[in-house]
């Protein structure tokens, strides 16, 4: 037998083919749009109801998240306990999540129990009554969680970062304050609920084994409601971001949380995907520049990440890390050094090839299986895209050059405009 040479990497290929998932968009008899992502080998269904009910729809920071949490706290015909019993008894999950732009209400259920769980899910979304008693408990619990979060340097840094990036008056930037929990009242929440859920102005995304039977049940449940337009969001507010350093001292901290970054482009911008590739190289995977330098060479942190995030009104770039308290300054210097390198030195062909291969593998994984596919779809449908976004992503990954990435680094990673927050010690 030939002697095995362990120093040579066995043949591998760059992934160039990615099977794009098929989406079918239909309308229920009342015009409600339903996106169908059929696939997977388990007989289950995931329903994501996407409502115009995220944080952007109110300048009161708590309306959106608390409304979302109150959906399954009682309806005209079901007590909160009854609602909880149905989902638990049939092994289903009801998960409301209010994001910065949209709110999602997710039902995860076995197909064989859909007819048992779907009516309760519908009732929670459409007929919630938000009883005072339940509201008090929810607010008390949220307040306590807020107090616990406020002890974390990572939370303090994140809140200050967004306030500074988007302004203290923009829904993206407003910080939560303790008194918000006592100021809020049921009428205001019901008002928000009526305008943002009960209008029926939402879309459904179905993934899993979406059989005709499943579709019939969805039609029967959602096909009769009246659909009207949602009252507008709080409108676009111009935000002025100012570069500065904010230090939040926390005497007993053994680590400092760093958040550093600036507003950036959204998914609608032609540079978005290129910039996504750049932030991956910068700090988006285990072998990134930041991880190599600040974790693997200096040992200042357990993990450091850079990300490009797109919200509807703005994107942002952020670097996040919890670092050894007496090395916060050093870490910031190194983050800046890495930015300057991206702006002044071309990425080597080797590193570029590696990142391309890595990102193609990641794309393949992000579109594997019904749950991954629905998450990927949720991320683009909010911007009016379908999987054409992922086609573009693929093409851009395969074709982008080091020159282009350097140009993007110069244009979008302007250190002078960055906000830096340190919570802990500095």
């Amino acid at each position: 037998m030939e002697k095995l040479n362990r120093t040579i990497n066995p043949d591998f290929k760059l992934v160039t083919h990615v099977e794009m998932p098929q989406v079918k968009i239909i309308k229920l008899s009342n015009g409600l749009p339903v996106h169908i992502l059929n696939g997977g080998s388990q007989e289950l269904t995931k329903i994501d109801l996407m409502a115009k009910a995220g944080g952007i729809y109110s300048c009161h920071k708590l309306y959106s998240p608390i409304t979302s949490l109150m959906l399954n706290e009682g309806t005209a015909t079901r007590t909160p306990h009854e609602i909880a019993e149905v989902f638990d008894f049939y092994g289903a999950y009801f998960n409301p999540v209010a994001e910065k732009d949209n709110a999602f209400v997710t039902l995860f259920t076995l197909n064989k129990y859909l007819e048992n769980t779907l009516p309760t899910y519908f009732d929670a979304v459409m007929n919630s009554t938000m009883p005072e008693k339940e509201l008090d408990t929810v607010l008390q619990r949220r307040l306590n969680n807020y107090l616990i979060e406020s002890e974390k340097t990572s939370f303090l840094a994140r809140e200050a970062f967004f306030e500074n990036l988007f302004g203290a008056n923009h829904p993206y930037g407003i910080k939560i304050k303790k008194e918000y929990y006592s100021e809020i009242n049921r009428n205001d929440l019901m008002h928000f609920y009526k305008n943002h859920y009960q209008t029926g102005d939402f879309e459904l995304i179905l993934s899993g084994q979406i059989t005709d039977k499943v579709l019939n049940q969805v039609e029967k449940t959602f096909g009769n409601i009246e659909v009207s337009e949602t009252t507008n969001s709080v409108g676009e507010i111009s935000f002025e971001n100012k570069s500065n350093l904010i230090v939040i001292e926390k005497a007993d901290a053994v680590q400092s949380s760093i958040r550093m970054g600036l507003p950036s482009v959204t998914k609608l911008h032609p540079d978005y995907i290129g910039l996504k590739i750049l932030t991956t190289i910068f700090g988006g995977y285990f072998g990134s520049r930041l991880m190599k330098n600040i974790r693997e060479e200096k040992g200042y942190t357990y993990g450091i990440h850079a990300m490009l995030v797109s919200l509807s009104q703005s994107g942002y770039i952020a670097v996040a890390a919890d670092v050894k308290a007496n090395h916060a300054k050093d870490a910031i210097v190194e983050i800046k050094n890495e930015i300057v390198k991206l702006q002044t030195e071309l990425i080597s062909p080797n590193e570029l090839a590696l990142v391309k291969n890595y990102m193609m593998g990641e794309l393949l994984q992000n579109l594997d299986g019904p749950m991954a596919i629905s998450e990927a779809y949720k991320g683009v449908i909010q911007f009016g895209y379908g999987f054409n976004f992922h086609e573009d992503l693929k093409t851009t990954i395969l074709n982008i050059t080091s020159e282009k990435l350097m140009e993007l680094a110069r244009r979008y990673l302007d250190i002078e405009k960055m906000t830096t927050v340190v919570a802990g010690k500095y």
Partner: protein, 411 residues
């Protein structure tokens, strides 16, 4: 039903192959039968620190991550009290890269003092990030040694204290490798659009030449039966008082294990569960409360943890909690509630089979427990639990002398 094939190499490496034609991704999961319980009490946190060093290059491959990323793969690992588990997902066409990388680091590592020093720093920051720089983060550092007096489950995977990580020497790291990292102490699972013949070929080629090693027979001190209620208090800068309770229970896979797990579900799996309904929503004593089992391979712990609402004393919270625990003993759970927790077990098993990586991990862990086939018997074992059995089990479980309690007080 998860179908699989299996074979064992001459050097003792067990290999399990699960075919799933629906995915372009392959999951490659390598489980080593070594965890924090195999550590010296004076050198804790070692197994986990070692896991970090496994990513610092091996004898023929200077860097582990780079070639894998170049092949479009993702990887990570975790260490717990029982095992150290390494996993990769990558495009099927590039599967051989996973064999190449994993076999070389099973063969031998390329350790240096410098690499060790850096990873010590990283792990110390991990210690701080997870345990010290978080409100309530350190409770487990205190509750474990209260519950276990002899068994090594008395320390968490991260280690008892930072100095143990600081004091680790390069020689100790090397010794640990040859003592525990061996083909005959590992289980490999490959899952995806693969067949057993191609995996057998690849396994023979890359893992076959690695020599079998002398893995010492595990000789872990078993925990003597607890015969007195144990108690301690801590005071910290936190917003709410918290209660942590640990009851000794049986090992994973033992007869009463499933009944015990269902008790934790009756108490706190889902919003309709008893502790949430009674203590959080009705009586408003707790801000949050949970019951769960640690699921260890040696006899583990049944945990109850809760944050008390402001103005509620430890005595009030404790008393109401005890009422709920006693009810499990005195009133047989009705058929409806028993069906509910069993349905939940069934659906969560089905949900867990969506991910190819999850399937691979579960196969490996079940093989460690005795037979990968257990994965297909899990639902049935839960189905068999009766209301009577739950009562009997609860009686022993919730005896006050079986409990260690930590009161975590606001300063």
């Amino acid at each position: 039903m998860i179908l699989f094939d299996r074979f064992t190499l001459d050097n003792g490496l067990k290999v399990i192959v699960h075919q799933d034609k629906t995915t372009p991704i392959v999951a490659f999961n390598l489980l080593y039968n070594v965890g924090a319980r195999d550590e010296n009490p004076e050198k804790t946190g070692f197994a986990h620190l070692f896991e970090h060093l496994m990513f610092e290059g091996s004898v023929n491959i200077p860097n582990y991550d780079t070639p894998l990323q170049r092949a479009g793969g993702e990887n990570n690992a975790f260490t717990n009290n029982d095992i150290t588990n390494y996993y990769i997902t990558l495009p099927k066409e590039n599967l051989e890269t996973a064999f190449w990388l994993e076999s070389d680091r099973m063969l031998e590592l390329a350790l240096t003092q410098e690499k060790l020093d850096i990873q010590k720093k990283v792990v110390i920051e991990e210690f701080k990030q997870r345990y010290l720089n978080q409100p309530y983060g350190d409770w487990n550092l205190f509750l474990r040694p209260l519950a276990y007096k002899k068994h090594p489950y008395q320390w968490p995977t991260i280690g008892k204290e930072i100095s143990h990580i600081e004091n680790t020497t390069l020689q100790e790291v090397k010794d640990f490798f040859f003592k525990h990292y061996a083909p005959n102490n590992a289980i490999l699972v490959v899952a995806g659009n693969v067949n057993v013949n191609e995996i057998q070929k690849l396994a023979e080629k890359w893992f076959g030449p690695i020599p079998q090693r002398n893995v010492p027979v595990r000789n872990i001190p078993q925990e003597p039966k607890q015969i007195e209620a144990r108690f301690m208090e801590l005071e910290r800068q936190v917003p709410l008082n918290a209660i942590y309770k640990a009851y000794h229970m049986n090992a994973r896979g033992e007869h009463d294990y499933y009944a015990t797990d269902l008790i934790s579900d009756i108490l706190s799996n889902g919003k309709s569960a008893r502790l949430m309904q009674r203590l959080v929503k009705e009586q408003k004593l707790f801000n949050s409360i949970n019951a769960y089992i640690t699921g260890d391979t040696d006899p583990g712990l049944f945990m109850v943890t809760g944050n008390l609402n402001e103005g509620i004393s430890f005595e009030q919270g404790e008393e109401a909690l005890q009422v709920e625990l006693q009810k499990i003993i005195t009133e047989q759970v009705d058929e409806y509630e028993l069906d509910k927790v069993k349905n939940k077990v069934e659906s969560s098993l089905i949900y867990s089979e969506i991910s190819i990586l999850n399937k691979a991990m579960n196969l490996a862990f079940n093989e460690l427990l005795g037979n990968a086939e257990f994965i297909n018997q899990e639902t049935l074992r839960y189905q068999k639990v009766s209301g009577e059995q739950i009562q009997t089990v609860a009686k022993t479980l919730f005896a006050p002398i079986n409990c260690s309690t930590l009161y975590y007080k606001t300063k």
